[in-house]
Amino acid sequence: MQLTRVGFLVLLWLFVLAALRVVRSDLYAASGLRVSIPSFRRGGGKKDKTGKRPARSARHLVVTHGALAGTRISLDERPILIGRADDSTLVLDDDYASTRHARLSLQGNDWYVEDLGSTNGTYLDRARVTAPLRVPLGVPIRIGKTVIELRS
């Protein structure tokens, strides 16, 4: 009687511990979760070698086609809003662009492009952006008549 009573509680807690083990293994193995968790092992030493940012991260946004061709915007942590609205980061004077057309935002070390419900769509390379997509370096993003790309 006492044995079963305690035994059941022990089993119940074993279940909890088994669940927590899985949680822990997930934390260390970074099992495909795309949040970049700052790890303790990657301390200052490694950072000094590679510089402040990883070598292949984007530093500039360059307009390659369209009325604003040649424009460069240097990137920092803040998201880039693109559209005809005055408060956009990149203000387009383009009849094919919407007021709030697209947004580029930094997640971890990668930039993602997201369409903000534009009329004519945003294209990453030739694929229409329907969900946030990772933007590799040098791949053109087309918004109306304007094409931009990320450069390091």
Binding site: M1, T4, R5, V6, F8, L9, L11, L12, W13, L14, F15, V16, A18, A19, L20, V22, V23, D26, A29, S31, G32, L33, R34, V35, H65, G66, L81, D87, D95, Y96, S98, R100, Q107, Y112, E114, L116, G117, T119, N120, G121, Y123, D125, R126, A127, A131, P132, R134, P140, R142, K145, T146, V147
Partner: protein
């Protein structure tokens, strides 16, 4: 509901049969192992209940154990097939909670049947019904995982779902009390001769989807506009319009139906959603002001709110009177009897608490498994919520983040309100304990909720499929397939 079979053969986004083996572990093995563990625990609990009730083992335990195993086996296979990258902890946690709830319901049935036998009156238990609703829940869960291949599909129906949700919420309020009333609250829709449902439980999920998709569409407005006042950035009022309207309607309706628990739940989740969407604490403060006002008004106007607050302050002041603190006092007695280690499953008397198998199932667990068992149970809820939140953090689209956060938080908030009510931390409001309480609608709705959460976690952990290079065209990309569309003025 069924689609032509040819349609399912077409490749879809969610179809991963042809996906190359990836480095991301699906962890389905872990899920299966934990499910087996949960089955062992639940079967053991059934045997303990029988043993402590000093009865020989009845064949019906075999039925319950096998039914349990079959149901979650099916659920596991469905997850393996349709959401292979889903979180491995969510389903086992749900299975264990559901199973322990089933054990408690069965155990209270036994006690009530014994009492009915002494009083020579008829009694029908609620455990078989709970098994049936679990089975229907698993079916719904599978149907949702099968048809909902991408959670972003839901955002397209945001306004529709919001409207339907609101209608479902209102429905019991305008139906005659003979159809919708029970225990003071008007939350049911009963079809005579058939099963009654509480549409509010389903409406809740629809409203969360609406709020999430609304906030995704309007998030930039929330972020950009606003004046600063006392260091807080205040939003513009007109951006709030639709949200406030929906909120006021749902809370008002629920107060009309005297269903305080659900209005508290919806209100809390919307506040948290606003906070997640805007990262501004001002929204929480702004939300708390009408909340406090609503509390005061409800306290002044509604009699049963006053009763509950009085019972909360002192359950013994009106111990045996109508609307008195008997229920809460019995719950506290039960928790006290259980102490640290509990009386052992089947050895306590949890049936003394009114509504022991639904609203107050937690006090029964606390009595028979003690503080240690109850703490383990709360940790399982915590793991469940945490995994949901984690999926929400990891998923890449904003809608998924908001919806996942809202669903996961709604579970935690519900547990807080229920356990807080049963342990006299906050006034009792009458919500169901997710997955444990006897009650069909809440169980079904929660299985739908879990299916959506699993879908979101599947999207979060699924490795990105390598984009296939389309045929090379040499037109400049700035001129490639531009579709001219008249811009709406």
């Amino acid at each position: 509901m069924s689609t032509p079979s040819g349609q399912s053969d077409q490749p879809s986004v969610g179809d991963l049969a042809a996906a190359p083996p990836s480095k991301v572990p699906t962890k389905r093995g872990v899920e299966l192992m934990l499910l087996v563990f949960a089955t062992v625990l639940v079967t053991g609990a059934f045997i303990l209940v029988q043993g402590n009730q000093a009865q020989e083992l009845k064949p019906e335990i075999l039925f319950y154990a096998l039914a349990y195993l079959a149901m979650f086996g099916i659920a596991h296979v469905v997850v393996r097939k349709f959401a292979p990258y889903a979180d491995p902890l969510i389903l086992p946690c749900v299975a264990l909670l559901n199973g322990l709830g089933l054990v408690m319901i069965y155990r209270i049935d036994l006690a009530k049947a014994a009492a009915a036998e002494r009083a020579a009156s008829a009694f029908s238990g609620s455990a078989p019904g709970q098994v049936m609703f679990t089975a229907i829940g698993i079916v719904l869960f599978s149907v949702f995982l099968y048809f909902l291949r991408d959670h972003r599909m839901l955002s397209r129906y945001g306004y529709t779902l919001g409207l339907v949700g609101l209608a479902l919420l209102i429905l019991p309020g305008i139906l005659p009390a003979s159809i919708s009333g029970a225990g003071g609250a008007k939350v049911w829709v009963r079809i005579p001769g058939l099963i009654g449902l509480q549409p509010g439980e389903f409406a809740k999920i629809m409203l969360f989807i609406f709020f999430a998709s609304f906030l995704v569409a309007k998030r930039d407005l929330f972020m950009n506009a606003g004046r600063t006042f006392l260091g807080l950035e205040l939003p513009r009022l007109r951006d709030l319009g639709p949200l406030l309207f929906a909120l006021a309607a749902s809370v008002g309706v629920l107060a009309l139906e005297k269903d305080l628990g659900n209005s508290l739940l919806i209100f809390g989740v919307v506040l948290v959603l606003l906070y997640i969407a805007t990262e501004r604490f001002a929204w929480v403060l702004i939300g708390l002001i009408p909340f406090i006002a609503a509390c005061v008004v409800a306290f002044k106007l509604l009699n049963h709110v006053q009763q509950r607050v009085t019972n909360w302050i002192d359950p013994f002041s009106n111990y045996s009177g109508a609307g008195g603190g008997y229920q809460l006092a019995q719950s506290l007695f039960g928790l006290g009897t259980g102490g640290i280690f509990g009386t052992g499953l089947g050895a306590g008397r949890p049936e003394l608490v009114p509504e022991a198998n639904s609203d107050f199932i937690v006090s029964g667990i606390g009595e028979e498994l003690g503080f240690i068992g109850l703490a383990a149970l709360l940790l399982i809820y915590l793991v469940l919520t945490m995994r949901g939140m984690r999926s929400a953090v990891a998923v890449r689209d904003t809608f998924g983040k908001l919806l996942g956060g809202a669903l996961a938080f709604s579970l935690a908030w519900q547990v807080f309100v229920v356990v807080g009510g049963a342990t006299k931390l906050i006034p009792e409001t009458g919500l169901t304990t997710p997955f444990m309480s006897a009650g069909g609608s809440s169980l079904l709705a929660n299985y739908i909720l879990v299916a959506i959460l699993l879908r979101i976690s599947d999207a979060a952990r699924r490795p990105k499929s390598t984009p296939s290079r389309p045929g090379v065209q040499n037109t400049p990309i700035s001129q490639a397939h531009t579709v001219m569309v008249e811009r709406p003025s």
